[in-house]
């Protein structure tokens, strides 16, 4: 269980989060959605303790505040929105950085398996900075996976905290990455993902938190939360759920690939 209570974050005079509660359960994919500037990434930043904030965050029943970085690293891995890397590391070496900080450090085969999981095993010996944006993003996912390789360990779930994990990916890899997240959750781990794509959210999330202007607007299963009314209010434009567009306009949804 990941519980955030009354999270408040200020950037100078601007209040980015005004008291948000969020509960994510292990075994589920929890998505955080909302318009630009609604505080999605700020909320994830507070949850991962990388932003100064008010309120409490409890991970697996223990308060995050005050825990040592390495203790937290053994319980949860964080995928940042963008990843620039200093120095010419190779792909496999990057994934190993994740392995060393988790609890699977004694299993040298894990990094290759993690790379294979994101479909980049053949890139192991390439330089990270020679990769395309999407490839780099998937390598970072492999690094994060290597850090929490076993979704459950010692009876405790591990957590994947993903900030826009599919932002720079093509549609096939978006599906691949969301599959990985869902599989991690099905195996007993917890996943919290900041999402932009409402279709993918609807397809993969078990639980959706809709943020708007620093507040939690709605929270629940996708079918309950993703309504015309809530989404239109959150995003500030008239949105209609499950209505096909007018005749003659092509539309491509990931749903077909999963059917």
């Amino acid at each position: 269980m990941l519980e955030a209570r009354d999270i408040r974050v200020r950037y100078g005079p601007f209040e980015a989060l005004r008291g948000v509660d969020l509960t994510a359960r292990a075994g589920e994919v929890t998505a955080i959605v909302g318009p630009n500037g609604s505080g999605k990434s700020t909320l994830l930043g507070a949850i991962t303790a990388s932003l100064p904030h008010d309120g409490t965050v409890r991970l697996n029943g223990r308060e995050v505040e005050g825990q040592k970085p390495w203790a937290l690293a053994a319980q949860r891995a964080v995928l940042p929105q963008s990843s620039r890397l200093a120095f010419p590391f190779k792909v496999l070496e990057v994934v190993r950085l994740g392995l060393q900080s988790g609890t699977a450090g004694d299993r040298p085969e894990v990094p290759m398996q993690a790379l294979a999981r994101v479909g980049l095993a053949q890139y192991a010996d390439r330089y990270f900075q020679d990769l395309s944006g999407g490839e780099a993003q998937r390598v970072m996912l492999a690094r994060v996976l290597a850090q929490v390789w076993a979704p459950v360990e010692d009876g405790q779930p591990r957590w994947l905290l993903l900030d826009e994990p599919v932002a720079s990916l093509d549609i096939a890899h978006q599906l691949q990455v969301m599959e990985i997240a869902r599989e991690f959750a099905r195996a007993g781990g917890g996943v919290v993902a900041v999402m932009h794509d409402l279709n993918l959210t609807a397809l993969f999330a078990d639980c959706v938190a809709v943020l708007s202007e620093g507040r939690l607007l709605a929270f629940g299963a996708p079918a309950e939360v993703m309504t015309d009314e809530t989404l239109s209010l959150a995003y500030g434009c008239a949105l209609r759920v499950s209505a096909p567009p007018p005749e003659g306009v092509p539309f491509i949804l990931p749903h077909a690939a999963l059917a």
Partner: protein, 355 residues
């Protein structure tokens, strides 16, 4: 063709290569050390002396002085200074995530320079008891205080609420450098001819003034600082991913910054104090090693220490035989050797340098 073969082959392990390099570089260091004991302006050689010792002959006064009072302390100081500069360079590059960073960024150079100039130009104005206390070592002492002091000042300026901003440190470093430069300029103005020449020679760096006293004064601090820096490997690797991610993979970023900055200030401050300004070791050595065995700081730091020490001893051997019986300032030799290599790296491996 080569590229295709590479990608099809199983990934080669650079870490293994880097670990093997520890042994190789230790061997190189040992060879360089022997060379520095063997060669010098006099025709005293280590081999001849060992021969005498084995044969039960006594060493002449000259041989004893040259070996024990000149070459050995010089070797010890070369090892300490070379290792200190190279490790500090590698640590700073890791901390600032920039392969061109060097300890100068944290103000060590500017501060030490100001300290040295103060001592050279105004040293005579100090109360007699201070002069008696520090004796000949006023310049190194002042250089150390200046280098260490300016780093701590920068560090304090850039640390708010327990967090050190690397960007603030960089900018404040530039400001502090300009200020130190201006103060140095004022002192240069009042300096007389002889003091100016002393300043020039100090700036070029040299191991000429090596003595056991200096080795024992600077040695413990340098060894301690290098030791502290060597354990930063994993943290600096994590930092390559950025500060936030480094924290997410379990690194206590602030503590690492503390250790890195303090150890760099200690090692570089002491090194600069005893040897003056010696350039390029801190940048070239880590670069060469990253090219040879990758950027993994767990091995890079120790390898830098070994290669830095070897390089400096080698440069010193060259400095003292090229124009014997006079000698070149070692800073000239490291720059003459280092600058073209550095340019070559920039030209050849632009892709790996631009980040």
């Amino acid at each position: 063709m080569a590229l295709i073969a590479d990608s099809a082959a199983p990934p080669r392990d650079r870490l293994g290569r880097a670990r093997a390099l520890h042994g190789v570089l230790a061997g190189v260091l040992a060879l360089c050390a022997l060379a520095s004991l063997q060669v010098g302006a006099t025709d005293v050689t280590l081999t001849a002396m060992l021969g005498k010792l084995i044969g039960g002959e006594a060493l002449s006064q000259m041989e004893r002085v040259v070996l024990f009072d000149i070459r050995l302390p010089r070797l010890a100081m070369g090892v300490l200074v070379g290792a200190a500069l190279a490790v500090s360079g590698a640590a700073m590059q890791g901390l600032f995530r920039n392969p061109l960073a060097d300890p100068g960024i944290v103000g060590v150079g500017a501060g030490a320079g100001l300290g040295a100039i103060l001592a050279i130009v105004l040293g005579a104005l100090l109360p007699v008891w201070i002069i008696n206390l520090v004796g000949n070592q006023l310049t190194p002492f002042a250089a150390f205080l200046g280098g260490w002091g300016s780093t701590i000042l920068l560090y304090r300026v850039s640390t708010r609420h327990g967090r050190t901003s690397v960007a603030t440190m960089l900018l404040a470093g530039i400001a502090l450098g300009a200020l130190a430069g201006a103060l140095s300029g004022i002192l240069v103005y009042i300096a007389d001819d002889r003091q100016l020449r002393d300043l020039t020679f100090w700036g070029l760096g040299s191991l000429t003034g090596a003595s056991w006293a200096k080795v024992f004064a600077a040695g413990p601090l340098i060894v301690l600082s290098i030791g502290a820096a060597l354990v930063l490997g994993r943290g600096l690797n994590g930092l390559a991913l950025g500060e936030a991610t480094a924290a997410h993979i379990g690194i206590d970023v602030q503590r690492m910054k503390n250790v890195a900055i303090l150890s760099v200030a200690g090692a570089t401050g002491a090194a600069v104090a005893v040897s003056g300004g010696i350039g390029f070791v801190g940048i070239v050595v880590p670069h060469l090693l990253r090219l040879a065995s990758g950027p993994d700081h767990r091995t890079l730091l120790l390898n830098s220490a070994l290669l830095g020490a070897s390089l400096l001893i080698l440069a010193d051997v060259i400095a003292r035989v090229v124009i014997a019986p006079a000698e070149l300032p070692i800073g000239i030799v490291t720059a003459v050797l280092g600058a073209p290599v550095f340019l070559w790296i920039l030209l050849k491996r632009r892709g790996l340098v631009d980040l």
